[in-house]
Each structure stands twice: as structure tokens, then as C-alpha cells.
Symmetry: C2
Subunit: 495 residues, 2 copies
């Protein structure tokens, strides 16, 4: 018989690309989601929470020629007797489930259907620093309206949302572009070949990185990369490439100027004219709502998503400066994006249903607020009631209950009470503002010792007690005054 191996202990590790969130991090995100939900609700959007799991078929990621669904999602096959169960997967965004929900419930839902959704999504991708395989999204979409008033509304809501969570006006801008304008430009160029169009789209997507001259090179013969590699160009003549460059650089100081430049760039293209008209209408609607170009601006250099969307495209950028990993200043960048996509539900029903929506990158927005010092970083721990006599737990419990009933965050020390030093170390680790002590002397006298741990930390920091000499680090109070005195001290500490 083979020797029985000692069972190995499991590793206490999150799977690669996943992480845990503790304490204030959780509270901050919850608060932010609540604030965002409040704005979305005020705009008439209704909450929707679908399950994390969808059929791969409904998600639309199933490749018929492979045994497993393609990479990018976490998927598994349901077990059934014939080994023929459905493939299920974790949702990779909140839009694909919306399409399924709308198709499934369309007879019970109002049209247009304004819905918001918030929650984690999962991507089966290679994780990297700061790149996780589970992260939060916070979406709002309007399904069933082809009117660009729906797009304008979402841009206004995005601006309101950013201000509501603590981004000052002036520290953000919502930029709008329109895919139809680009289609007009391609028409004017005489580009009807799908491959060539795709090549031009890919080049446009690099505008952020390579700039105007880079795009000119890439549309023409090609370009020597920073790494020394030569990137083949699309092979257009300078004249042919010109409308693309004109489109990308048509932003002017005024909305009117930008729109005029765009009209010039699309020549007599009908679809291009429709795109410019849509931008004009959105600008008018937004102006009527009080959203000027200081908050929401037409900017044809927004290219992200142009390949994916079918009409208006928008992106929220935080404009304040941060330092990158090399200490160089740069603007914080994008925290939300969206646009119009008109064949959301068609896969399911055959019916074309116009839709538009936005997705906020919750974790990036939290990081931005963190950098701006705008997060409520209250990591104050509970008041800790220490245990001087383990036979008197009931007395300590009574103290804690009184505090809690008065709304004060409090706890009794539940570890081994033998070492008082360990109890104070624990209070320190919990970031407790106050420790309460009652030994035999205090019990006899009907009093409590109160230790001001915030003051204690300050004195330890400055290594000088002088400037705090008027405030005692520890003092005695009557047991009967517990709640009022602790409340007063907490107030004093918070000033």
C-alpha cells in the first residue's frame, strides 16, 4: 500500500487578480454608490439588479467553433445527465445583462426604460498592478429612445453626479463626440472598403498617443515607433487623409466654431450632417438645462469608443493634475464613458431598439477623490472599554451597552485581559479615540478612568506635552456621567 501522505494545508490566498477591501474602503465605496444612485434616481432612472451569472448565450460571447467560450469571461458548463448543460458565465459588464433583461421583460417595462445598475463585473484577463479581475461599475442607460435628448440627459446627469460625489466644477469636463460625423468624414474621403475603414478607425484610436503628426504619418506611409519599430501606414495620400485630421482637430474656443469646423470636415455627406446636427441639438438642450461648455463640451478629439458606438459618444475626464509614477505632472484622465448603441436588443428579438448609456469607473473615481482629499476618511475606531477584572465582564458590558444605546461606537475588550498593555495596544490598532478603565478603586469610588488616546498620540508625535498641558491625557469621571462626558470628549477630539 502506498504511504498515506499528510494532507497539505490550503494556501490562504485570494485567487490571482482578486483582492479584499477592508473597513473604510468598503464604507467609502458604499457611500459613493449611494450618492450616485441618488442622482440617477432624481433623473427618473430605476434601479435594476440582475444576477452575477448569465448564460454565455445571452452574454453573446460564445464561439461555436471551440469547446470552451472564448477568453475574457469566467465560464463553466452546467452539469446535467447528458454532459450537455448550458454554459454559464460571470457578467463582464452591466450592459449585456441589460440587453437580456430588456428583451426578457420588455412587455412589463415602460418604454423608454431608464435604468441604473451598480455592482461588480468580472474579466478573465491577465491581472497586473492595479488591474483586477473583479471591479465595480455603475451604469445608467435609456433603452427605447432614439432621441438625442436622451444622450444629452445622460451627459447632464454625469456632470451632476461628479459634482455630487465631490469633484468641483472646473475639475472635470464631459466631452462629446459623434460617430456619425466620423462616418461622414470617411464618406467624404471616398473610403467605403470595410478593411480600410477599420484601419482608419484604428489609427484614429491612436490620436491620444501619437498626436496630429503621428496620425498623419499612420494614415500615410507609416511611422517609426518610439521603440524603433516601423508601423505600416494605411497608405492614404495626404489629401485623402486631410478630412480625418480636420475632424480630429476641429475643436474651437466656442461651440459654434467647433460645429462650423465639423461641417467643413464632412463636406456634403448626409450622415455627417446628421451627426453635426445631433451635436448641435445636444449643445442646445444642455445650454437650456444650464450646462455650458465649462462642464460639457463638444470635442471631436474624443475617439475612445468611436469604433463601438453608433451615434453620440461621451467621456468624463478629471482635469486636475496628478503626478504619474515617474513624478511628472499629468491630468488624472477619464473616469466615465458611454454613448449610443442601437442594436442592443436586436440579437434577442430581431427588433432594433435604440439605446444610450454611461458607465462610471467607480474605483478610478474613488482613487481621484482620495487624491483630492475629498473622501470621508473617518477611520476612527470604537471607544474601547478595557477589562481590569475578568469577573466583572457584566459591569463592562453594561458600560458598553449604555454607550451604544446613546449612538456611540463602543466595544468591550474580548481578548485575553491578562496584559493591560495588550489591551492598550489593541485600542491603538483599532484607532480608538478613547479607552475606559475601571479597576477596583474606581468601582469603589463609583468612577471611571478615561484615557484620551487621540491626545496621547499627538503628544507622542510632538514629543512634548507642553502645548497640551491644559488638556489631561487621562482623567476620572463619575460613572453616572459616562455618556455625557464621553460625548463631550469625542466632540472635542473632532474639532
Amino acid at each position: 500500500m502506498a504511504k498515506q501522505k499528510k494532507p497539505q494545508r490550503p494556501k490562504a490566498q485570494t485567487p490571482k487578480g482578486f483582492r479584499d477591501y477592508f473597513g473604510a474602503e468598503v464604507a467609502q465605496r458604499t457611500d459613493m454608490l449611494r450618492t450616485i444612485a441618488g442622482v440617477y434616481h432624481r433623473y427618473g432612472f430605476e434601479a435594476l439588479e440582475s444576477a452575477a451569472v448569465e448564460t454565455v448565450e445571452a452574454l453573446g460571447k460564445f464561439l461555436p467553433d471551440v469547446d470552451r467560450p472564448n477568453e475574457g469571461v469566467f465560464a463553466w458548463q452546467e452539469e446535467d445527465e447528458n454532459d450537455n448543460g448550458d454554459w454559464l458565465a460571470l457578467r463582464y459588464d452591466l450592459t449585456a445583462p441589460l440587453a437580456r433583461v430588456f428583451a426578457q421583460h420588455r412587455n412589463d417595462l415602460p418604454t423608454p426604460y431608464r435604468r441604473f445598475a451598480m455592482g461588480p463585473v468580472w474579466r478573465n484577463e491577465k491581472p497586473g498592478p492595479g488591474r483586477f479581475r473583479q471591479f465595480y461599475q455603475c451604469d445608467a442607460d435609456t433603452v427605447g429612445s432614439g432621441n438625442v435628448a436622451a444622450d444629452a440627459e445622460i451627459c447632464a446627469m454625469l456632470a451632476d453626479t461628479l459634482e455630487a460625489v465631490g469633484i468641483d466644477r472646473g475639475d472635470y469636463v464631459v466631452r462629446i463626440n459623434n460617430r456619425k460625423v466620423l462616418n461622414g468624414v470617411l464618406e467624404v474621403m471616398g473610403l467605403f472598403d470595410d478593411d480600410q475603414r477599420a484601419n482608419v478607425l484604428r489609427t484614429i484610436d491612436k490620436f491620444d498617443k501619437v498626436g496630429e503628426s503621428g496620425v498623419r504619418e499612420l494614415l500615410g506611409k507609416g511611422r517609426l515607433d518610439a521603440s524603433g519599430a516601423y508601423i505600416d501606414g494605411v497608405g492614404l495620400s495626404d489629401a485623402q487623409a486631410e478630412p480625418v485630421v480636420a475632424f480630429l482637430t476641429s475643436k474651437s474656443d466656442t461651440t459654434e466654431g467647433t460645429l462650423a469646423n465639423l461641417r467643413a470636415a464632412i463636406g456634403d455627406s448626409e450622415v455627417g450632417a446628421k451627426g453635426v446636427d445631433e451635436l448641435q441639438t445636444m449643445a442646445d438642450l444642455l445650454a437650456a438645462g444650464g450646462y455650458g461648455p465649462d462642464r460639457i463640451v463638444i470635442d471631436p478629439s474624443v475617439v475612445r469608443g468611436l469604433g463601438y458606438y453608433t451615434g453620440p459618444v461621451f467621456e468624463a475626464e478629471l482635469t486636475f493634475e496628478i503626478k504619474d509614477e515617474k513624478g511628472r505632472p499629468r491630468s488624472f484622465g477619464s473616469v466615465a464613458g458611454g454613448g449610443r448603441y442601437d442594436d442592443l436588443v436586436k440579437r434577442f428579438t430581431g427588433q432594433e431598439v435604440p439605446a444610450t448609456g454611461v458607465s462610471i469607473g467607480v474605483d478610478r473615481l474613488l482613487a481621484a477623490l482620495h487624491m483630492k482629499g475629498r473622501l470621508n476618511m473617518d477611520t476612527t475606531g470604537p471607544v474601547v472599554v478595557t477589562v481590569m477584572d475578568r469577573d466583572r465582564m457584566a459591569d463592562y458590558q453594561a458600560i458598553v451597552s449604555e454607550l451604544r444605546n446613546a449612538g456611540i461606537r463602543a466595544e468591550v475588550y474580548l481578548g485575553n485581559p491578562k496584559s493591560f498593555g495588550n489591551q492598550l495596544k489593541y485600542a491603538d490598532q483599532r484607532n480608538s479615540p478613547i479607552a475606559i478603565i475601571q479597576g477596583g478603586d474606581e468601582l469603589a469610588a463609583g468612577t471611571l478612568q478615561v484615557k484620551d488616546l487621540i491626545l496621547g498620540a499627538k503628544i507622542a508625535e510632538t514629543a512634548s506635552q507642553e502645548e497640551w498641558s491644559e488638556r489631561p491625557q487621562q482623567f476620572e469621571i463619575p460613572r453616572a456621567d459616562l455618556v455625557s462626558r464621553i460625548k463631550a470628549l469625542l466632540d472635542e477630539q473632532n474639532q
Copy 2:
């Protein structure tokens, strides 16, 4: 060449056992979780949010002799070049991830570690009516304290939580039992054989269903089932079975009485005496905190979980009556349960770490509050601004923006405005309280028409306008008074 098949459309369906939550359902759960988090926080517990995905190894569900992890969890294998990737799975509860988190981060976490967690968990089980494969749990646990003060605290917190979410005192009871008392009983019976002990435990678990006489039969020779089947008994003599029955039925009118009965049931068993002492200590601590037997009571008939836990066991039951599916009255039943389990972290580190905790069944608690009419059922939709003239969207947009800026939930109709009837139908489907109308006449006069849809619905319901004759169903207001008049009408409707 084979004839190309038309691609089949995907089915718009949630996977079996999953469901969507809409509007008020989502808001009600969010509100409840927030209230619970508030109580947990006040008790000194810290939020923890781990990912939905864990390694199967960490979850402890991996069977080495099969290719796939056992049923009960949704699991899949990570792809890697050698087809040897980790098995991952969706968490099936919030306790297994806590064990992994504590083992992984134990050097950075305070001990004792009080943490709460809320979120969905997944079970790969056969779904049934009202039984879903994704549902919410809301847990609080104290890791690293062997003191029953930790258990008492969790019971007090559970009582406070139930009251905070809207269950009246008197409509619930938290029942406490202790596994050690049962162990003492088994000792007194002279039962040391593991199989026989397991049989007795299984019988005890049926106490809820078969009552005292049923348990007597099952401990003895056996019992004729209601279905006519004969269930074999454990084969104990009446005398041997007596301590079990004494244990299960030892509840008295007073805590003292119950404890005395238990002391009698455990005879001179040391572990049994320790269990009774623990119950005594918990009762004393709870009394000191103001939690009398009207809220938290020692009840040896609580058997759920006795097999799983190692010390105190508790269960919260809602005591008010509801009608079951056949219309018979019964009490609502359990909404939360928990207890002490002392080898949580041992699997990972080899170290024994005592822990105790509770899990609230959020969906059941929501259902209870729903039955009691205690949920904020505000399903009021937004004020709907109708579109009389599609060229004046900017005007309607301005009206909506004014309302939203004043904190009023409002939206402009974004569907095809051709049919005014459709717009009112939409407002009705949205449960809108008010529709606002501005045609050419109103524009010229600088006014708006306001339609009171709540009143309209009431009149339609009673089919008589008389009793409402003093309140007009539709009236005109100056455009300049928009916000104040709409606010006033909403207030009136809410009275």
C-alpha cells in the same frame, strides 16, 4: 457546400435559479443593508468585502478523487498552458472567505477581529419556488476570542438589528442553546461511539418536526412516519434516552429554572457543566446590557446548528403569525442563526482560532417586513414633462432641469411624442404623480398645465368625482411658479 443555417437567436432568459430585481426591491434591500451595517458598525465591527471568487482549495470543497469539485458550488478551472490551472469557485457563504482572509492577513488585523460582511453568495443546487441559486447574506463574526462575552454581544446586536430594521420588540425572540450541554448529555448517556452520537444528533435535529414523543420513539425502536414508512430508531433504552428528552424539554418560565433543569440533565459531566456555565454567563451579561428574556432567551429546544457548532448556538425567530400556503396560521420562523465554531482558521495555519458569528437571511427578513407592511414601499415615479411640440425639447429640458435642481424627481418624455395618449400611458406605467404640459397656448400665456395623476387615479378608482370636487384634476400655473407649485402639490399628495 452545406446550406448555411440562419444563426439562431439567443434566448433572453436568466439562467435557471437566478432572477432580476427591479426598482423598489433593490432600494429596499439597499436600505436594509445600510441599517444593519449601521448597527454592526456601532458595535465596533469593521466592514470586509472579499471577492466573489475564491480558490476551491481555500473554500475547502475540493475532493481529491474527482476531476471536478463536488456539487454545491459553481466552480471552474483556470486555463493555463499545462491544463493544470487552479480551480476557482463562487463563494457559497461569507464564513469560508472570512477564514481565508483572517489566515492571510492575520498579522495586520487586530485580535480579536470583529468584522461584518454583506453580499450575494451562490449555491449550485436545484432551484425551486422561492429558492434561488444567488441570494444575499449579512454576517458578523468575532475571530480570536474564546470568551462567551463575544457570543452574548452578537446576540444583543442581533436583537438591536431586528428592531432597527423595523421588527417590533415582542415580534421576535433570539433563542440561545449550547453544544457543550448536549455533549454533556451524551456523556451522561454513556454514548461515546461516533456513529451512535451522529444518530442521536440526527434525531435531535428532527425535534422541531416530530416533537417529544417522536424523539422518544426515534431514540428507541423507531417510528411510523406520517407517510406510512417505518423509520428505524437509534435503539436506546427508555432510560438511556431520557437525558436527551430532558435536555430538549428543559425550558422553564425563568432563566434560573431552565438552567437548573439543564444542570439536572447533564448530571456530573464536566463539559456539560461548562456549557451550562456558559449559558449562565451569557444570560448575566445580557441582563447587564438590558437584554431580558423578552428578547433573548435560553431555549434548549434550539437544535438547528448543534451539529455544526462547538459552543453557544443562537437563532432569531420572528414570532408573529402568518398564513402558510394552505391558509393555516403559523409563526414566521427563523431569519438568522449562528454560533461558535472554533476551528475556522486551523485548516490554513494549524493554529486553533476561536470564533463566533451570526448570519442574517436578508431576503427572508425583507419578506417578513413586507408582510408586516414595514417596508418603505415608495414606488412613486418621477414628474413627467410631456412633449407637445418636438421642436421645443430645449424648453421642456429647462423645466426638467429646474425641477431636478430643486431635488424633485423628474424627467422629460423621451419616446416618440406623436401620441399624447401614449405619453400619459407612459406616465401611468411609471407611477408618476404629476404630468406637466405646455402647448402653444400655454407658451404664449407663460403658463403650464399641471395634471394631478394621483387624484386622477383615485377618481378612476371610485368612479365618482364628487368627493374630490374641491381639488381640480388639472390646473394652470404660471411658468415662473413651477418649482413652488409642484412642491406644494407633491406635499399635498403625500398627506
